[in-house]
Point group: C2
Chain length 260, copies 2
């Protein structure tokens, strides 16, 4: 049993990377082999797990871009993180060119899915951290994924973007990936004391119903500090509200998928 989950939302700064890093770490700390793949040219999941930007190192280390260009296999690109059971395929800023370089290439949408096929069975969960765009990189992630996990801030602009996300999901399911569905929608940086948050949450509940995770992630400074130490919050400050919330999320995801 193996599931590929794309952490996706074209709205920027909603907590995609924070969720990808900390949910995958929480799953790994429950003893589940987990692979995180950094599809964003910002490579924040890579930096947030301690693999600092280093031009020389980057030149020698295969990245997800090498997979998409067919120059390296997934097995060659996988690296072990500081967390047992958590592996990473790093991203690179060079992927900024992917949208232009891959446009004319045969099978440009299915490159990632093909590259992951040989290793899928080794990981019960594979998470894909996507860029804030509905571009060719995100399209590759949606074609490779079984489900989408959509982090959302409970703010006005989040509501404006829902219809695009859903229509992109339907288009991808229609032409490339018929089984693609929503794993869940996750409220991030959530402060249930404000009227705005409550109004947006009620709106999302109406839209997504039981797809809305019961777990919400509160705004917690330890989540913003952890990446500067190159660690998931569960290693940086395991007793923080941020760590507790991502542990709860992992347990909820596991329960939805028949683990434990």
């Amino acid at each position: 049993k193996s599931k590929v989950i794309a952490v996706v939302n074209q709205k920027g700064g909603v907590g995609k990377t924070t969720t990808a890093i900390n949910l995958s770490a929480a799953l790994a700390l429950e003893g589940i082999q987990t692979l995180l793949i950094d599809i964003d040219p910002q490579a924040n999941s890579t930096g947030g797990l301690g693999f600092r930007r280093d031009p020389e190192l980057e030149a020698s280390r295969p990245t997800v871009y090498d997979l998409m260009l067919g120059e390296k296999s997934a097995v060659e690109a996988i690296i072990q993180t500081e967390v047992a059971y958590l592996s990473l395929i790093p991203g690179t800023r060079n992927m900024i060119g992917a949208n232009i370089e891959l446009v004319g290439v045969e099978g440009r949408e299915t490159r990632l899915r093909e590259a992951l096929a040989p290793i899928r069975a080794d990981y019960p969960f594979i998470l894909l951290d996507c860029p804030p765009a509905l571009d060719l990189l995100t399209l590759n992630a949606l074609v490779a994924a079984d489900t989408l996990l959509v982090p959302m801030q409970a703010e006005y602009f989040a509501l404006e973007g829902i219809s695009e996300l859903i229509s992109t999901l339907e288009r991808v399911a229609g032409s490339f990936n018929p089984g693609l569905s929503v794993e869940g929608v996750l409220l991030t940086m959530f402060d249930d004391r404000t009227n705005l948050s409550q109004a947006v949450r009620d709106n999302l509940k109406g839209y997504f119903e039981d797809k809305l995770f019961k777990t919400t992630i509160p705004r917690n400074i330890r989540l913003a500090e952890a990446p500067s130490h190159g660690k998931p919050v569960l290693l940086y400050d395991p007793k923080s509200r941020g760590a507790e919330a991502y542990r709860d999320l992992a347990l909820e995801l596991m329960a939805r998928n028949g683990y434990k």
Copy 2:
């Protein structure tokens, strides 16, 4: 005298749209003719100023995409907002296709600059709200712009993205727009009580020196509420800390450019 300023940062959710809407409104309320152009396919500047998504209306209203495809002139696309002296060229979700459709087109980088040339002289300030990417849309904005205004959150991932932004700026200045420079770097959602914010601010000061605006924008819920009412915060809640901060920013920008 006319200045085109691109509000840009590939990092998502740092306050580009919030700055584009509220700074342009604050300049307009000082009696300066200001034009805001929404280059982001999310079209949040358009929605945040009250022009709700409406497929029928969108089909009949020219957008910045029509300008880039050469099908409409800037004069035809300009609409008046609720704020005197503030005009808008709306964005559209259809621009998501721009990165693919414009790739093979002649002069794809200079489309926006050419479209704005006839109207530049009518507006002392023209602000461009950019998507969270260094793609062809942002490239068009950088080629059309005189300067960049870079909103930044004082958090770890913001530091990771600086070097890309600067190297992109240098590349654009080298090949398309020799005069392009940094207008300023703006700290947004800034809370000077946390160690992280102070550490990142000191880091940015060392990097940008006097380009760092003295004005910082505090985290203020009224800024997040205002777009759901379709108004800039200066109309929604003129006495809020968010409104005061953007008014201060407008005065600082004006002083730097010889106004008043």
